[in-house]
């Protein structure tokens, strides 16, 4: 086949990129080689638009064992325990085929984690759909939720937390981000770097089929009206095989047989082999006729570009083949030696001894293009919204409107479809600030949460970037965990658009600054560009997945009120910031103005002190104040428990809407026993923390003096109806 400009473009490569390929090879590539370049040089695999910015992220800390660049990040949680975790997007496939797209998203991220020697212990997800009244939303929601459940439930890893959001910005490009968290022994972490010459390269797992060919390239382009035609690029998941693969790999990892291991994710056999060779500064030779194929007459091109799931590449120590084969045979999985490491520094592809492709590894990896794309700064929006100009509403009606909205409703309909309890270490599941997972057989635990704030990021990316890291940190603090590190999934539009690139660059500035200030490094992550259809880009949606440590798990902390007649304190200062709030969005459909300001010094001080209060057993319950403001936080504390609160009128004369619905940051609500209030107040005073005594818990009723009184059961009903009525 002649490589014409059309063929080049069909591979998602630019003409100047193609000239560069010819230069690197000193010749024209054949079709197989072109396909391999296209797989390695697309945005998804090469991070060509993002790399320049990603290297500025804050990634260091004594808790970090492995930062970005491996299959997943690794952190130290004391003793000989390590936590391995990462988040990844599967947006494009999930929009085309929601069940399989979401399912294989979960499968892919699980492989990233167990590839490193960790047994996965928790799954999380962040899923974003278009407006509920968009004609595709309902079926996408159904498909994605059952896909996530279908995979996680079957493989037997609990799905413990997540977020499900709706916004018209995702009408034609939903987001499906999946995060996996695993536990490993600190001295038993496995990496992808190849070592040694003439070592056996082994293929294990499922057979290779024709599914997912060019999946990574598909994920590196915008959608248009022909997106339906891309269905064959979506992979099909088989959680059962993944379960076998996971058990077999973990069994083989018990001894010293493995030199390096890499899962076949995006761009399948191509990227896994190149990655291993590139990191090891070696060459790799593959005999493609040996690849176990699901279908007959598969070409080398198809074999190299297939994204069939549940496959791994392993480089074994000499003489370990039989031992390893026995384990994979026990689990009924394919095990084939398909090649070896070489000193050529080339990727050499042979079919029955005939060399069909030969590409320098560097050309595919380090020489892949890097773009310094143009970007523009976003000014802080000026527009102020005057409450006086808006139609008057009652506080009670506004609260009901928010609690019954798609975005603030109880997500039980979603989470009931996920097995949250399997493995029997889920101390606290979805529906709280963060989930708590016990380290099996020990008395310590980790807390995990995923968060995003697309509206804030859209309004002002730097502030939005800061805010999500803070919100995530706050969620972990609220369950008594010391936040250790994060993974981020950066979902953005087309990077060739200067505004989108600006959103990306500036969100990252906000994330970096916050991570550094809070000593909360990024250890892994994923970038997903080209989220949009026909030039309409999604709002910038970085998603943060955080992991924190609970040293000694005695009394898991949550947001549910524990008893009546205790005092509720509001920690942190309330300014009444209503722009970009749930109040304006849900009640008036206004999304305008600046996001709330983030003060990192207050964030840190408030958070550390809350953690101290929890450690000293001085609080009964803790909630962070986020979307919906103080009133929603308080209502959630009530609905979680059945107890109510009697809230005093704010002492200073102030606008009640601003006071109750404002989304000022760094705030928490805490429940304190009356006999502990003095101690708590002293600690807060000593740390110069602003706080208010805002009310007392009581039975049955959520009440604001002179304003509203609602039965908590009624609130619960209001908060639980949206999904059932949808």
């Amino acid at each position: 086949m002649k490589i014409t400009n059309e063929v080049v473009e069909n591979h998602g490569l630019k003409i100047d990129e193609y000239s560069n390929i010819k230069k690197l090879l000193n010749r024209e590539p054949n079709l197989l080689e072109l396909g391999i370049f296209s797989a390695m040089w697309n945005e998804h695999c090469s991070y060509k638009s993002s790399r320049k910015h990603l290297k500025n992220l804050f990634t260091k800390g004594t808790q970090v064992i492995q930062g970005p660049g491996e299959n997943a990040g690794v952190i130290d949680i004391g003793d000989d325990d390590a936590i391995v975790f990462k988040i990844e997007s599967h947006n494009h496939p999930s929009y085309i085929e929601p069940y399989q797209g979401a399912a294989t998203g979960v499968g892919g991220i699980l492989r990233d984690v167990f590839t490193m020697g960790a047994r996965p212990i928790a799954l999380l997800n962040s899923i974003h759909f278009g407006s509920p009244d968009h004609f595709r939303t309902k079926s996408l929601l159904n498909g994605v939720v059952s896909g996530i459940g279908g995979y996680g439930n079957c493989i037997g890893i609990p799905t413990v937390a997540g977020e499900t959001k709706f916004n018209k910005t995702y009408n034609e490009n939903i987001l499906v981000n999946a995060m996996a968290v695993g536990h490993a022994k600190k001295n038993k972490i496995f990496y992808s770097k190849a070592k040694g010459l003439n070592k056996s390269v082994v293929y294990v797992g499922s057979k290779t089929g024709r599914d997912g060919i060019h999946g990574a390239s598909m994920a590196s382009a915008e959608f248009d009206e022909n997106s339906e035609d891309k269905k064959p690029t979506v992979q099909v998941g088989d959680p059962f095989t993944e379960k076998l693969l996971m058990e077999a790999c973990l069994e083989l990892m018990k001894d010293e047989s493995i030199i390096s291991i890499q899962d076949m994710g995006a761009a399948g056999l191509t990227s896994s082999s190149v990655e291993m060779a590139s990191k090891g500064e070696l060459g790799i030779e593959l005999n493609l006729e040996k690849i176990p194929c699901r279908e007959e007459n598969m070409t080398s091109y198809e074999i190299m570009l297939s994204e069939s799931q549940e496959r791994m590449l392993i480089i074994l120590e000499d003489g370990k083949e039989d031992h390893a084969r026995k384990i994979f045979k026990k689990w009924d999985l394919d095990f084939v030696v398909i090649g070896k490491t070489t000193n050529t520094n080339n990727l050499t592809l042979k079919y029955k001894k005939e060399t069909q492709g030969e590409i320098p590894i560097n050309a595919l990896a380090s020489e892949a293009p890097i773009y310094d794309r143009k970007w523009i700064k976003k000014k802080l929006p000026k527009k102020k919204i005057d409450l006086k100009e808006l139609k008057k509403v009652k506080i009670e009606d506004a609260l009901i409107k928010i609690l019954s909205s798609a975005n603030h409703s109880n997500k039980k309909w979603v989470t009931d479809q996920y097995d949250q309890m399997v493995m029997c270490d889920t101390v606290q599941k979805s529906g709280s600030n963060a989930a708590i997972i016990r380290i099996h057989g020990k008395d310590k635990a980790i807390a995990v949460s995923v968060d995003s704030s697309a509206n804030y990021c859209k309004a002002h990316p730097i502030t939005g970037g800061k805010q999500i890291v803070c919100e995530n940190w706050r969620n972990l603090i609220s369950v008594g965990a010391k936040p250790l590190a994060i993974t981020n999934c950066l979902n953005f539009g087309n990077p060739e658009n200067v505004e989108v690139m600006g959103e990306f660059a500036e969100c990252l500035i906000g994330i970096r600054e916050t991570c550094e200030f809070l000593n909360y490094p990024v250890v892994s992550g994923n970038v997903s560009f080209y989220n949009g259809t026909n030039k309409k880009n999604i709002s910038p949606t970085p998603v943060i997945g955080g992991v924190g440590l609970i040293h000694k798990l005695e009394k898991p902390m949550n947001h549910k009120i524990k008893k009546d007649d205790s005092i509720i304190f509001l920690i942190g200062k309330t300014f009444g910031h209503l722009e970009q709030s749930a109040f304006f969005e849900e009640v008036y459909s206004i999304l305008d103005g600046q996001p709330p300001e983030v003060n990192l010094a207050n964030e840190k001080n408030n958070g550390e002190n809350i953690l101290e209060l929890i450690k000293n057993d001085l609080v009964n319950s803790v909630h962070d104040v986020s979307s919906g403001g103080l009133i929603v936080a308080l209502a959630e504390m009530c609905m979680g428990s059945g107890y109510g609160i009697k809230v005093n009128k704010p002492k200073k004369l102030t606008n009640l809407f601003k006071y109750f619905f404002g989304e000022d940051q760094s705030r928490y609500t805490i429940e304190v026993n009356k006999n502990n209030t003095e101690k708590v107040e002293q600690i807060l005073k000593d740390s110069n923390i602003f706080y208010e005594n805002i009310g007392t818990t009581q039975r049955d009723f959520f009440e604001i003096q002179d304003e509203l009184k609602i039965d908590v059961k009624e609130l619960y009903k209001i908060n639980n109806q949206w999904y059932n009525n949808y």
Partner: protein, 225 residues
């Protein structure tokens, strides 16, 4: 007391059951599905999960596996057999328990705590519970909708072979508190000799006070008696 947990490819509650059994002082052995001999056991547990990926029909392939022959033999000799969730499905596939487990009425996977009522507490499995005791216990399944023919249903009732039924928090057995569409709200049944119990709820998830209530404890302690 010696117990064996049978592990199929795709079982995923095997470790959970083993942990619970150990906590309850059982001497437990894990038995891989390709084995052809069971260790001497007083209790065999078929755990939850997705044996063989639930291909064909949940429990169908496991019901024809090598080790299952041994389980059937042992059961016929009077050994106690407990099938939980996928284990219950497998037991119906072997014929050790009659009836079938259909897809949940709402066609969705359901994981949540539900109330179940102890219907028969005069068995090896349930003697530590009170009659009509209400348990709050976790379910997690796609196919828990128990169905059987009229003759067998009659037999279940006449011979007191129903172990648990889904109910509300006061013990009322109502259709609105039937999570999966199960016939007569059935959550678990015995065979005629009452040495085999199949149940959809997961007692092994309810033995650790840090993660749940202790409503599963009595099931295991009943067996120790």
């Amino acid at each position: 007391m010696n117990s064996s947990v049978v592990v199929f490819p795709g079982s995923n509650c095997d470790r959970d059951v083993a942990v619970a059994l150990k906590k309850m002082q059982f001497k437990n052995t894990m038995v891989w599905h390709k084995e052809t001999k069971l260790p001497k056991s007083d209790l065999i547990v078929i755990p939850g999960g997705f044996s063989y990926g639930d291909y064909l029909r949940s429990g169908a392939i496991a019901g024809k596996s090598l080790i299952i022959e041994e389980v059937i033999k042992a059961a016929n000799d009077g050994c106690l057999v407990l099938g939980i969730c996928n284990g219950f499905q497998i037991l119906t596939e072997t014929g050790l328990l009659k009836g079938v487990l259909l897809r949940n009425k709402n066609l969705k996977f359901i994981n949540r705590n539900v109330n179940v009522k102890v219907i028969n507490n005069e068995t090896k499995f349930t003697n530590k519970y009170k009659k009509n005791q209400i348990l709050n216990i976790n379910i997690a399944h796609n196919e828990g909708n128990y169905f059987t023919n009229t003759a067998h249903l009659k037999e279940l009732n006449n011979e007191n072979l129903i172990a648990f039924k889904y109910c509300d928090q006061d013990g009322n057995i109502k259709e609105s508190f039937n999570p999966n569409g199960s016939l007569e709200n059935i959550a678990g049944i015995f065979n005629m000799k009452k040495n085999i119990l199949g149940m959809m709820p997961h007692p092994e998830r309810m033995v650790d006070s840090l993660i749940s209530n202790g409503d599963g404890v009595s099931l295991f302690s009943s067996l120790l008696k």
